[in-house]
Symmetry: D2
Subunit: 342 residues, 4 copies
């Protein structure tokens, strides 16, 4: 069977590089186009990408000629977008209009009423919005988005807690610097330091979570009704967002019951290539999860949970640029393929 | 006026060195004795202290001959204890029995019913326990303690919130590695990493806070009745504990009213040499407080607050080995002196 | 063909864990025994190893029962030793006497006259010392050692320079904290800091290099005659030693000629499973090699060279616990197998 | 006596802030003008300076209105320039032409034949170039420069070695990130990493050192004739450049003789307010100097030396933005005042 052709928008950046890593040797997809700014266009990817992952550039992309972000220049069945949100705002609809399926990591359209904001393990049925979206917008293609990195990690752990009746969530995040992009944080700003603020991040967690965990009734999403309150911090960690969660749950489960719910969590997606064996890993050691030790579990796609205590309190962790960005989009694309949207 | 003679127990360690720094050129106190383990006894402090502060050892202590931790070997009016809790358990009562006033940073006696656990800006009246303690234990001297480092920072900020009726507190801490002592954290454990657990820390915050904010009726402390729930993390920061606080307040003040309460907070202690001009500093920048920029404010004795938002949520920060340890004991000693206990 | 059975001494430590990683799915070797201290013996490896690599413990070793460091308790064809040097001093000869081939990463016997100190790409012929060693010591087995981590990186790059007549070497090292073992460096000692001293390291580089690059005349090693002068620094990097080298060369080659010699370096070992495709990688970017980006090249077995300038000066880098420790021993074992010593 | 009025060009940046710190409560100088880019002009310094030192902005400058970099807008007796080199190229001569004495930290004019490149402890007599410069250029004022940060640290230690006949110097530097300016290094570039290249740095060390240590015969500088070869690395340290030096010395002194030369070094400048008690501090511990522990010695103006060994090899360290930048300019200004140029 021929592989599905994939184009990447914003291919030279931090998340773009993670897309290439996530798609390396992918059984279903193959990269057919890499798009970036004018400055890079016309040159080989290996020359213009300032490759910063501790592995060699996959040979399959090194010699691909980079094109501009233009639907006419790209031959692909699906488009992954790693664009900054301002560029995504015009580029993604242009691609959708031209008939492309766009799986986007950008925040630009996440909260639009007819755009699905999907984590395959949490709300796969929200894909139903695609038909509505196409009709609404008169598009041949469509846009599907994945949540913000810190939201994904939280939302994956909230899914198995829904059964206990979530009343409110407080979450303090300790977020890695890669989340701001390669050039997003100066060394003088973060070494031996904490920055207790990340622009827009708290709002994203507080709103996206409610959309993801909302109900889709066939026509629209009814947001979840509990309250999420977030305090976000940038910490001197390269990759991996750690989150301290307080979940007020109506049914007052014991920590053991919560642990059990995490352990039993099985979204039935093991046939998707990027889905890890365990979407949630439970660690019982007192001092886990830790970003450096746990971020790469399940090839960066597992979310790790630990320190489940009365409260209910727990700590969770996921790889922000894999589980929280490129891997999330790729997993969404796999779900689209399985559901017949590709 | 002759200065008050001061002895330090555990003088060679991390907190011991901070005591020496805090007492350097102190207007009321002068160091007369430095005590440490057998291994160091008989040698000059400058030879045995593996001095790790980025300043020269004060000349006044460099040549002091270190003695063992023995009341008979020490001539002093007050004893500062920077001992580990297991050693403090026997040493501190021995000194109190011999008539010494012991201002302790150790956790061993903090929660004892007749031992004051004091932050001068918060609960100076708890010193009244000293008389009861002396009587109970038939001691000529006494023990007075300061709270755990992360507790102090939190409790200072809760004091001005009492007027709003505290119902519950959630706090996530991002604690510096110096809090574990110089040898407490391996570099391989914390570089590019977070450790979401600090042994005993959450319990200390959750219990000590209630004692400090409790009422002293002349005979005993009635603990505050709200609930504190803490999640503690070790972060790769040298000094300065950052804390994300959620305070549920009965009177539902606005963030502006809370900010105002912090700004107006004046414990009336500016005559004490170690008391900073502003025990609480409010920063209005979105990205403050930050440990590297704010920990040394007020010579390390100010607590900085920022990001006051609906919730009520805020972020606070203090220097853990100054405000949260050595400086806290020295300030307690100054209060003792002022109140006539020295 | 049945795989060769392998035992690991010191299996629970930092380098021991790297041995397990290096041997995972090895085509020739399979782990049959894991030995550690009394404290761990009798328990499953997965229970006692405080596993600190960012990957899961290979399933094949998780349930192996750890034994004490005793030749009678181990069934294996070759022994890898990750013991500290004091323990290696007695344990390794005990194993060699009992007929085991011991491939050691310890420093204890490296400089003994009849013990080969081998880097397969540099001095494979030194294996000839094994016959002399067995005869001298009346051992059925033997000991073969690999050099100190920082020495290996340097020596690999000096091999292709021999043709230019090495007259003297100055080398400044910037060494990762993992080189000191998991518990070897306190966070307070190295964060925001450099420690310009590593006990014994400079001596090892200055002497081991001359033995490795010495000539074996069939009976003994004649040391290389140039002078090596090293200044070693510990830096806040997790893995990967960086080295600035000044090489005074008799034939005064140009930087281009030196670059060419590095590029052409081919020790002809590509049939060994652990040998990387490029034992020396040359990077032409001005700012490479960098430890975080280059340490994992060739699965951690490649040495990367850059900044080749007049002088001759260059910068080199290798993974200290893979290329410089566990991987070095495994590669030596592969060479032993190929040469018929196993 | 009225204080000398001082203006600072580039007052809002990293080095500009260090100038303000160095001049706080200065006995001879008082800040009368702060100049920065158009963007900041017309506003109070406290509003536009993104103050990043862990101390409060000195009250004396907080309310000063920032002006543009224009000689007509500044009333001062001396100008300190913390400008980037491209801006300094036109701005500094404009000030000199208008009669200002400009003490510059920029690299733009350091190597000009008639511009003194001065370290007061090393080559105070080079100030003699000022008269020649004024005549040459027909300026009422003049420009005097201090060397590059890493050069200063090295050159201070070479001065007492001149007596032994310096034949060649190899130096490997481990440079702090603040040396690149607050925005000069991304966190993703340097955390858990080393960058073995700093643009232009090696050339500056190799040439500036020879001018500083050259002889002034009353008309021009005859450069020192030995060779300096540098390899520069950026390391994850906030402040403080560490340097490993190999000095080939004609008279072959012992390490003890070299140590003695460092200890006896007394440039006779203790009457200058910024001159530290010990311009060179010798540490005999095996593991010193270390940037975090030694950079602030002598209020950041002392250079610390250690690990003096056969070779002659030694390690030296100095605060790059104090001793190596702002403090260096201020010390030069004090020398100018003493010599009658102000």
């Amino acid at each position: 069977m021929a592989k599905i052709k994939v184009g990447i928008l914003g291919a030279t950046g931090n998340v773009g590089q993670r897309f290439i890593q996530s798609l390396d040797n992918h059984p279903w997809f193959e990269i057919s186009a890499l798009a970036a700014s004018e400055r890079s266009a016309g040159k080989k990817y290996g020359e213009v990408a300032d490759w910063k992952l501790g592995m060699e550039i996959p040979g399959a992309v090194e010699d691909i000629e980079v094109v501009t972000i233009d639907p006419k220049k790209i031959d692909a069945d699906i488009i992954f977008s790693a664009l900054p949100s301002d560029l995504a705002l015009t580029a993604e609809p242009a691609f959708a209009k031209e008939g492309f399926v766009v799986a986007s990591n950008a925040s630009s359209f996440r909260m639009e009423e007819d755009i699905p904001l999907v984590i395959p393990e949490v709300n796969p049925d929200h894909l139903g919005l695609i038909d509505i979206q196409k009709k609404n917008r008169n598009w041949d293609g469509c846009i599907i988005t994945n949540p913000n990195c810190s939201t994904i990690v939280l939302a994956v752990t909230l899914k198995p807690l829904l059964q206990f009746g979530i009343q409110s969530i407080n979450v303090a995040t300790l977020q890695a610097i890669s989340g701001a992009g390669y050039n997003g944080v100066y060394a003088m700003a973060i070494q031996d330091n904490i920055v207790p603020y990340i622009g827009g991040e708290e709002e994203k967690i507080e709103t996206e979570t409610l959309k993801i965990l909302g109900d889709f009734d066939g026509t629209k999403i009814k947001y979840a009704s509990f309250k999420v309150s977030a305090s976000c911090n940038r910490v001197p960690v390269l990759d991996g967002h750690t989150e301290n969660v307080w979940a007020t749950l109506a049914k007052n489960p014991t920590p053991e019951e919560v642990r059990d719910a995490f352990l039993k969590f099985d979204p039935g997606l093991s046939h998707l290539p990027t889905e890890p064996k365990h979407p949630i890993i439970v660690r019982d050691e007192l001092d886990r999860p830790q970003p450096r030790l746990d971020r790469d579990m399940g090839k960066g796609m597992s979310v790790t949970v630990g320190r489940i205590r009365e409260g209910i309190r727990y700590t969770t962790l996921g790889h922000n640029t894999v589980r929280g960005a490129a891997g999330a989009s790729v997993l969404n694309a796999e779900l689209l393929k399985e559901k017949g949207y590709l």
